[in-house]
Amino acid sequence: MKAVPSAAAEEMDGLLRVKNLRINFNSNGRTVEAVRGVSFTMGREKLAIVGESGSGKSLTARSFLKLVQPIATVTAERLEFRNIDILRQTEKEMRRIRGSRITMVMQDPRYSLNPVIKVGDQVAGAARLHQRISRGEARKKAMQMLNSVHIRDPERVYELYPHEVSGGMGQRVMLAIMLITDPEILIADEATSALDVTVQLQVLSILDEQVRMRGMGLLFISHDLNLVQRFCERIIVMRRGEIVETVAAADLRKSTHPYTRGLLESAPRIGGPRTDLPVLNRAEG
């Protein structure tokens, strides 16, 4: 494991701290170890966790929200948000953190938005959950939020249902929902993976703008190495529940770790060589 060099290191507040995280699933008497001893620290930065499906990256992120606990066994020497021990928090205490201090945007707004509630009301609802404001005020805040994620006529869009908006707009609505309470950390779990490339860029730039504006930390989960290299500051590479390498985005292409190199080489690049793409050797070891 490489040391963590980065300009952001000096500013690290240590927003998130995890040491030796283990997540196990029990099904039919067999135990599956999905996350095996993951440790890292995150500050006010754009940190990416990259890996193939099944690498445990989503689970790691969600354990900070304590959403994994009901269906799996989560243990760690440390699992902290600021100085709050997540492992010890009660459900009630977690509800004060979720949605207001740590939030998460998921992959597909067609499924992650409630299909029978107007999108605007879903944004307003998020605000009212954590602040004592009236419906009218919440509505106004929601409009403002829709505006700030670059939705051009918020009055019209407010009244729409999720199936009536496109993917890109849906993700912007999700962002509005998850940013309206001004959280300290946003987790983006494959947030752009379901979008077209051009729309991806739009949403990413909005995300970038918001993160910078609010001085938040962003935990960006993805399988797309090229994407995170351009977008994030630091990258953690995971494989089968373990961290394989942690590297600054700028240094990604210089990595000598065989797995990381494998990932880099198997991703197609525009302007790259036209030979067959190498395939990752997934044999053990």
């Binding site: 979720r98 949605g99 597909d108 509630i117 998020a126 729409l160 199936h163 496109s166």
Partner: protein, 346 residues
Amino acid sequence: MDAVFEKAYRAGEILISIFITYLGLLLVTFLIARVIPIDPVLVVVGDRATPDVYQAAAKRLGLDQPLWLQFLSYVGGILHGDLGQSFISSRAVLSDLKRYFPATAELATAAILIGSVLGIPMGMIAAAREGRWPDYLFRVLGLIGYSVPVFWLGLMALLVFYAELGWSAGPGRLDIGFDGQIERITGFLLVDSAAQGEWEIFRNALSHLVLPAAILGFFSLAYISRMTRSFMLDQLTQEYVITARVKGMPEWRIIWLEVFPNIRVQLITVVALAYGGLLEGAVLTESVFAWPGIGSYMTSSLLAADMNAVLGATILIGTIFVIINMLADLLYRLLDPRARRGLANT
């Protein structure tokens, strides 16, 4: 303009479909009537009539016409409300039905209220606590509701709650002393007595209504809670529920304010179907509780082989069924926001 035309076309399609089904319904009852081994002419003229009288009677009954013509006049008659005459009561079947229907409607409505007001929350709690004791308890209750014969349960309930414990009033809609004391406006005793301020009668009617409504309600409860649980479980695996948790919503809010709106529309269909099922259960329950409704009418006509009356009641119940299903379908299309068309642009 195209959209309007398309909607009209679809509505027309549905109406025609319902019409054809209804026609089929009438055809089935018509055929059943023709299946009777008893000669309907003989019923009218007696078996010692001369051939001339027989022919004349047959002609008057329209029985010399080809079958399909008979069917047409049958349908025509029904559309005019002519359901024939009951030979026990010597009244038009239609007026008999009008007399007896409100009692059944009152019973069925009370039962469906019990069934849904209790059944829906039960199903939701069972789903939210899946695998734990409330789930098992409610599922067992539902299973019992599906398996127990309604007439037997009614009888046992009368035995326990009326004869032994004296908690509930006995069979019938009112104590005999109150018979005919209030004017009949809607035929719903609760409504009529309340409207006329006769509170003693109201309470009495209520005490008679409770037990049969509870028994019938228990059935719809079994069905409604099972369907509710099933719908809820389907929804609880959806992503938007995770979003709600990420937002920090407490569990009860998620269930009632986020998930429930998603199953509301399906539940309407379920309740409508349950109501139809209640009409069936009413036939047997009314017999046990001496409830003077369509069910009792049907059973007494059955035993006397009064075919017109039986078929008339069958048509009525079938008609209600068709109407309820139609309404449920309509409500479903109207209320589901996903039925709204069109995709907004970015």
